[in-house]
Amino acid sequence: MLPTVFAYRDDGPQAEMTRWKPRRVFCTLEADHRDAPGTLYVVKFASGQAGAAALISETVSTRLFALAGCGTLTPAIVRASEGFAASFNRKSDYPGPISHGDYYGTLHRDDVEAGPPPGYDDLAQPLELLRLWVLDSWLCNIDREIEGNILLTLATKGRFHLIAADQSDCFCGASVFCSSGFRNAMKNRGPAPSVSFLPYVIFKHGGPNVIRKTAAEVRGILPRLPEILGLIPESWWQRSGLTPKIVYEALVARANRLEDILNPSQWEVPNADSAILL
């Protein structure tokens, strides 16, 4: 289970320009806030059908990224009480009203900068980028290359590790995810977008073999899927119109075709063994 924390006080907007306009919220471990002010979280008060789909996308995908060895933010279910929702709706500059209930949040980190990374030399472990791309391709993430959807955390020698920071637009994007076109979209979508120097990472770190190896590792987490889908609050399934079965089937089908989707053979270099990488 994801931990549940309780929204105590809003600390203002975190990223005003993104679709779900996440907020910084101090959250307590106790519903009566006796441990106030608690800990700072970044919370998506995504509402409506697409909002619920985005919260499911975040929860499922973030867990899958973590199991696959990618850096992720620490997630939690953030429960907004009636009192918090009423106060929030009266006083905040948030564009729409929120209702009481469960939302998705991650622990706020103040030791990161927004990605994507500008270049190869900024990466502590370039294969982290490849792993993100393989998972994004499996999960049909549509916007990894957008500013802030990767976060950068300092490793050593001025280089950075990557954190998969925003998974609300996996499953072909929240609007498609909760639509009737979801299954077809998951069937037809190609590999995910990434940064411009991904081909350099692939060529420099093993070409097609490293893609095949990573895809096999990613498929290795499939048995954990039912457990991960069990993390989703029932209210999100209801609001989104989705079911665990639909999501499970779409992910398994796509995992089985992952190599076809990634098409590692396109990275084959004739006489690669004797080639010199410039």
């Binding site: 975190q14 990223a15 005003e16 320009m17 993104t18 700072l40 706020h108 103040d110 030791d111 990161v112 900068e113 927004a114 990374p117 500008p118 270049g119 900024d122 957008i146 500013e147 802030g148 976060l151 950068l152 300092l154 001025g158 280089r159 950075f160």
Partner: protein, 284 residues
């Protein structure tokens, strides 16, 4: 008919040390004008020490941010911008302010009566970032030199920049611009591990100052350079060659701030006298 003056704006970059405690350090400035079609950014460099900013754990964030910022400025593109924005406009920088939510943040655009942006951005940076937060070491040497000079003589020398090679500004610890020559007073710690690096940087700086307006250093205008140095506990040991190097290659008089305070003051007085009185008019 006189042309209308260009309207400039500036903003301050801050590095967030502790988001929850709202603790941040100024690390740079941006200066721009839509009318003048001019924009420039000055962020602290890894070679510049700032108090409360770690070279290993903080600078990499500034470095990676600077790369992204340069890309955005060059491409005229900012993430999440719904319409095309140009980096010489206030709206571009307002948008950037909303975008920067992690380690590097930027203030709102602020008005400034800037007349010569090329020469004013560096003093603006120094005023906001540099002078307010000189590294502990620089501040210590500056303090020791001021003590040697006494209050009146210290006031005679200004802090700031003088024109160097290719007319570009060079920041010096203190200077006096007389009618015959410019006196430059600098400081260096020769007792530190990186003393050789500091000494080389100082010699390079003095050569750049001397090369004002000419391609060859030997053609430069008259500069009298005096360097106050801090030596090891028992006086110069293995680093004496660095003092000699500063005197020879930097064409400077180098004196120990702790052991030769009187000589340092006397040499400075002599140099100011030789530099002649201030020019009758020295406006901007």
């Amino acid at each position: 008919m006189p042309t209308a003056p260009s309207s400039f704006s500036y903003a301050v970059f801050r590095f967030v040390k502790d988001a929850r405690g709202d603790v941040s350090v100024p690390v740079g400035v941006a200066l721009w004008s839509e009318e003048a079609k001019w924009v420039n950014v000055r962020l602290v460099k890894p070679t510049e020490k700032l108090r409360r900013l770690s070279r290993t754990t903080d600078y990499p964030f500034i470095n990676i941010f600077e790369k992204k910022l340069n890309d955005w400025i060059k491409s005229d593109h900012l993430p999440y911008a719904e319409k095309s924005l140009i980096p010489t406009s206030d709206s571009w920088w307002r948008h950037l302010q909303k975008l920067l939510i992690h380690k590097i943040r930027i203030s709102e655009p602020r008005p400034i009566d800037c007349i010569s942006p090329d020469t004013e951005i560096e003093p603006l940076f120094r005023e906001i970032v540099g002078n307010a937060q000189l590294s502990d070491e620089t501040a210590r040497i500056d303090h020791l030199i001021s003590k040697c000079l006494g209050t009146e003589l210290t006031r005679t020398l200004k802090r700031g920049e003088i024109s160097g090679y290719a007319g570009k500004p060079v920041h010096v610890m203190r200077f006096f611009s007389g009618s015959q020559a410019t006196v430059v007073l600098e400081g260096v710690n020769l007792s530190l591990e990186n003393a050789a690096v500091e000494a080389d940087a100082l010699v390079g700086k003095l050569q750049r100052v001397r090369a004002n307006g000419s391609a060859r250093p030997s053609d430069g205008h008259n500069v009298i350079a005096i360097v106050g140095y801090v030596a090891s506990l028992n006086g110069l040991n293995g680093e004496k060659f660095l003092k000699d190097w500063i005197e020879e290659a930097g064409n400077a008089i180098a004196l120990d701030v702790e052991r030769q305070p009187v000589q340092l003051r006397e040499e400075t007085e002599k140099a100011i006298h030789a530099a002649g009185p201030l020019p009758a008019f020295h406006g901007r």
